[in-house]
């Protein structure tokens, strides 16, 4: 029994680790979305966190907690001078500027000889354990839970719904938006640092545009309205490929394309029919049934 459990753990250890890491990354996009800002610099922040922490453990020979702290704080510091000018942009323009930032970080790393350019850093000591990842997820959930219903939470909601109106009410929207960008950068950096010390290696191409798209997809599929959403989305979409790998031979499609196809279809269905994410599915179904029952009753009365 014990042996089976430990077998199970060994087989799925990396899946569980990735659910946690992906959840942290999804949260990093979510916190900006929670005040209506589509900021897509998280891949760049994660790259900074991963590289900084790897250099701390390997070149400076400092203990792992220091590496994690550096990996979390450095991206957060970078986010301040980035955010001040960039957050003046709205909607799509903010998204594009932050994508540009992420690509500049990635291409800078590709061209940086000291960290082996496109090959990246290898043989990073494995220091991340599963409990560290889930402790970080739990702390994030706790903070987001405390935020809801607080003065901060209401301010963020006001900015999301109508920023000019929020400003008129005396809410310093720039400060709140910057704080969320910095928090997102810290989360992404922490995820990057944990990932680097879990997979032994980091390479610039692991932090490209498609990575930040994944993060956005986790947040949106799970639901960007409530704070559980990003965790649910990351869990669902990280487990899905495991299921699909079993399923692929049955439908006669290669696992790679099948995974992409299902991801695309899930995203399209969610954005078209469940704008509040998978987490809202039970509520949506309940409301729809209630509406149908009401319509039926109305028809019977007439």
């Amino acid at each position: 029994m014990w042996e089976q459990l430990s077998d199970f753990y060994l087989t799925y250890q990396s899946t569980f680790a990735y659910i946690g890491i992906n959840a942290l990354l999804a949260f990093s996009v979510y916190v900006s979305l929670s005040c209506g800002q589509l900021a897509l610099g998280s891949a760049g922040f994660a790259a900074i966190g991963a590289y900084a922490s790897a250099l701390v453990t390997m070149k400076a020979d400092l203990p792992f907690p220091v590496a994690l702290a550096v990996g979390t704080l450095l991206p957060a510091l970078v986010a301040v001078p980035l955010g001040l000018p960039v957050l003046r942009l709205k909607g799509i323009f903010l998204a594009i500027a932050t994508i540009g930032f992420g690509e500049v970080v990635r291409l800078g790393l590709v061209n940086w000889e000291y960290v082996n350019g496109a090959q990246g850093i290898v043989a990073i000591p494995q220091k991340t354990s599963l409990w560290m990842i889930y402790l970080a997820v739990a702390v994030t959930l706790f903070v987001l839970w405390r935020l809801r219903g607080s003065k901060w939470g209401f301010a963020l909601e006001a900015i999301r719904e109508d920023e000019p109106a929020a400003r008129t009410l005396g809410i310093p929207s720039t400060g709140y938006k910057l704080a969320m960008l910095v928090l997102g950068a810290a989360l992404a950096g922490l995820a990057g640092a944990l990932e680097a010390h879990f997979t032994f290696m980091v390479a610039p191409n692991g932090f490209g545009f498609s990575r930040v798209v994944d993060m956005l997809v986790y947040a949106v599929v799970g639901g960007a309205q409530g704070f559980w959403g990003p965790l649910a989305g990351a869990g669902f979409l990280t487990l899905l490929p495991e299921l699909l790998r079993e399923l692929a031979p049955l439908v006669g499609i290669e696992p790679g394309p099948l995974r992409m196809l299902v991801n695309g279809v899930v995203l399209l269905v969610v954005i078209l029919f469940l704008p509040a994410g998978l987490m809202s599915l039970p509520r949506t179904l309940r409301e729809r049934r209630a509406a149908r029952r009401a319509a039926g009753a109305g028809g019977a009365a007439a």
Partner: protein
């Protein structure tokens, strides 16, 4: 020097063509269509398949472009029209276009596989007989043809948008869908037309890119997609002359950066430029001077 200019114009003409379609949809709908690069890629594969079936490239090109346009109509119907009434349609539209791009790429990956596909040998005349000496540089006939086709398509689009009734309707919708509807414009039709034209141009850019570099794979659209963003930001979102100008500017800049700093810095330039433009002059070279309260 002359050689660099020719290479830059050649690269720039493809960027311009790609960005033109990108910016057209943005101008009309305020939506960034991230599936544009997927259409670009699929059209190239369709052209390769047609040539593989024995069609001449001059026949395969327009057919692939037509296919791209029709795919654009499907995209509009499935991924964009249902979201139009939503208040956050620019963010949800971006996400649904990502979903569409993923689906298209998955289908291409399943049909054609992840490896690099090439046009069959002899699709285009090659060899020293087809090289010309011009301004102190060597140009192949293919490069000249690609530049000519691109310029022709840009001129055709300009005429379509400025000189025809359909073009006026599209511009009216871009200005204000509600006002256009009051004036009797069929808004749905105008938006569908914009998508058709945009995707057809994207497809044309793809086929020309495929012919130029002859290295076609399901992820070939990704690099161009982000560069296309840089081009439309530089040109000013929604501005078509801006997109053309910026496309050529990026092509020339890249070629000169490669010549002076080395190949690995090529891509960094477009993103650093994009970033600076957004900070210093968000409306780009030729964008309208309105602040967008998205």
């Amino acid at each position: 020097m002359g050689q660099q200019v020719i290479n830059g114009l050649f690269l720039g003409s493809i960027y311009a063509l790609f960005a033109l379609g990108y910016t057209l949809v943005f101008g009309v709908l305020d939506i960034l269509n991230l599936a544009h690069a997927a259409v670009f890629m699929v059209a190239t594969f369709v052209a390769v398949a047609l040539v593989g079936h024995g069609l001449h490239i001059l026949l395969a090109l327009p057919l692939a472009v037509l296919f791209a346009g029709l795919l654009g109509l499907v995209l509009e119907r499935v991924a964009f029209r249902p979201l139009r009434a939503r208040t956050d349609s620019n963010i949800s539209g971006l996400i649904s276009s990502l979903a569409a791009a993923t689906i298209i790429e998955a289908v291409a990956l399943e049909i054609w596989g992840p490896n690099i596909t090439r046009f069959p040998f002899g699709t285009l005349p090659e060899g020293p007989a087809n090289q010309l000496q011009l301004f102190g540089g060597t140009v192949s006939r293919l490069q000249l043809t690609i530049i000519a086709v691109a310029v022709l398509l840009v001129l055709a689009l300009t005429w379509l948008v400025k000189g025809t009734r359909l073009g006026r309707e599209v511009r009216a919708v871009a200005e204000s869908p509600r006002a256009a509807r009051v004036l009797g414009v069929n808004v749905d039709r105008a938006i569908a037309a914009a998508f058709f034209i945009s995707s057809a141009l994207g497809g044309a850019a793809g086929v020309l890119y495929g012919l130029a570099f002859n290295s076609i794979s399901p992820d070939m659209g990704r690099g161009v997609e982000l560069k296309g963003l840089a081009v439309i930001i530089l040109g000013g979102m929604g501005s078509m002359p801006g997109a053309v100008l910026a496309g050529f500017a990026l092509g020339l800049t890249e070629v000169f950066v490669v010549a002076s700093l080395g190949g690995s810095w090529r891509d960094a330039i477009s993103f650093a430029g994009l970033f600076l433009i957004l900070l210093v002059r968000p409306r780009g070279l030729m964008g309208a001077a309105v602040t967008r309260e998205a």
